[in-house]
């Protein structure tokens, strides 16, 4: 069976660290970084990229539209 794999790209400088993407992610791919961006926010990043299924839930709830989602079948 073809496996669906996804990947997200976060625009780190625009992220405000609201954590809404982290809560909405069904697979626990996203976590908040310990480092901060230029504005001082702990930005979101794909901590477990191998779990991403490309559902775009994170991008749907992101108020700042910083997440770009890719998906493919392997």
């Amino acid at each position: 069976m073809a496996k669906i794999r996804g990947s997200i790209v976060v625009n780190i400088e625009k992220c405000k660290g609201c954590e809404l993407c982290m809560v909405s992610c069904p697979t626990g791919t996203i976590a908040m970084a310990k480092e901060v961006n230029g504005k001082g926010y702990n930005y979101a990043y794909p901590a477990n990229p191998e779990l991403c299924i490309g559902c775009a839930n994170c991008a749907m709830v992101c108020p700042d539209g910083v997440i770009t989602v890719y998906k493919t079948k392997i």
Binding site: G54, C62, G65, T68
Partner: protein
């Protein structure tokens, strides 16, 4: 290492599922982290993009956090006096009936100072779309009590909670306009979860279609959070909204077109 190469292979233009629409400008949104305004802006811009209406759209934004709309959505925006957006939108739509005209108002604007304009524009059945962001508070000016503040809810001007004996009851504007014969489509949505975001987007798309068909006023209330005004984290505020706002402002369609 193998995993890393795998991810690089996924990130290709042909695998793109979702990206920020071009109608949203690259300006960093000035809203607080986790604010529902950003999500609403984005889905509105997406609908304008998907319906190919960028050059045909005129938005009206009055006073409140919504005043900054022109900075983020790349369409024509007219500023209006506090609460007077439906009146301004009426004029724009009557003079330029081919344009898609929407207003984007908060609860302090639409339900307090602009009550008369809102009700009369809806009652006249003006062919405009009114987007109403209800977060139960005056967000921009520091979290004062709004007409939509819930009973017992604390704000900077009701520090012991809203006392309905002296301060009255929360105003359900959407229920009021749903009773008016001029309105065609009245709905209440939210943007707290991915499913609700999709439903809201669908509602906005429907309203755009109805406006093309010259049907009458479409009114979309979006129950939103205000993490700064409520003094909560974004995740907490969404939870608080689900527990307290949704029972008083239940989501769903209040008036749908008869078939």
């Amino acid at each position: 290492m193998i995993e890393a190469t795998g991810i690089k292979e996924i990130i290709k233009p042909e695998n793109l599922v979702y990206r920020k629409t071009k109608i949203m400008t690259d300006n960093i949104l000035s809203y607080c982290p986790g604010c529902g305004h950003g999500t609403t802006h984005r889905i509105l811009a997406e609908v304008i993009d998907e319906e190919d209406l960028q050059s045909q759209t005129i938005g009206v934004s009055p006073v409140g956090c919504s005043v900054l709309l022109y900075n983020y959505i790349d369409v024509d925006i007219q500023e209006a006096a506090h609460g007077r957006a439906p009146a301004v939108a009426t004029a724009i739509k009557r003079l330029l009936p081919d344009k898609f005209v929407f207003t984007y108002q908060g609860d302090g604007d639409l339900a307090a100072i602009g009550t008369a304009e809102t009700i009369h524009a809806c009652n006249r059945g003006e062919n405009i779309l009114i987007i109403f962001i209800n977060n139960g508070i005056y967000g921009m000016t520091g979290g004062q009590m709004a007409p939509t503040t819930l009973p017992g809810m604390k704000s900077s001007t009701s520090p012991y909670g809203r006392d309905v004996k002296t301060m009255g009851y929360p105003l359900k504007m959407t229920d009021i306009v749903a009773t008016l014969p001029g309105t065609y489509y009245v709905t209440r949505q939210s943007v707290n979860t991915p499913a609700n975001v999709k439903k809201t987007k669908k509602a906005i798309r429907k309203a755009v279609q109805y406006q093309k068909l010259d049907k009458g006023t479409c009114f979309i209330e979006i129950v939103s959070n205000c993490p700064s005004g409520w003094k909560m984290t974004p995740v907490q505020s969404n939870k608080w909204m689900e527990e307290n706002m949704f029972p008083y402002y239940p989501l769903g369609d209040l008036k749908i077109p008869e078939k």
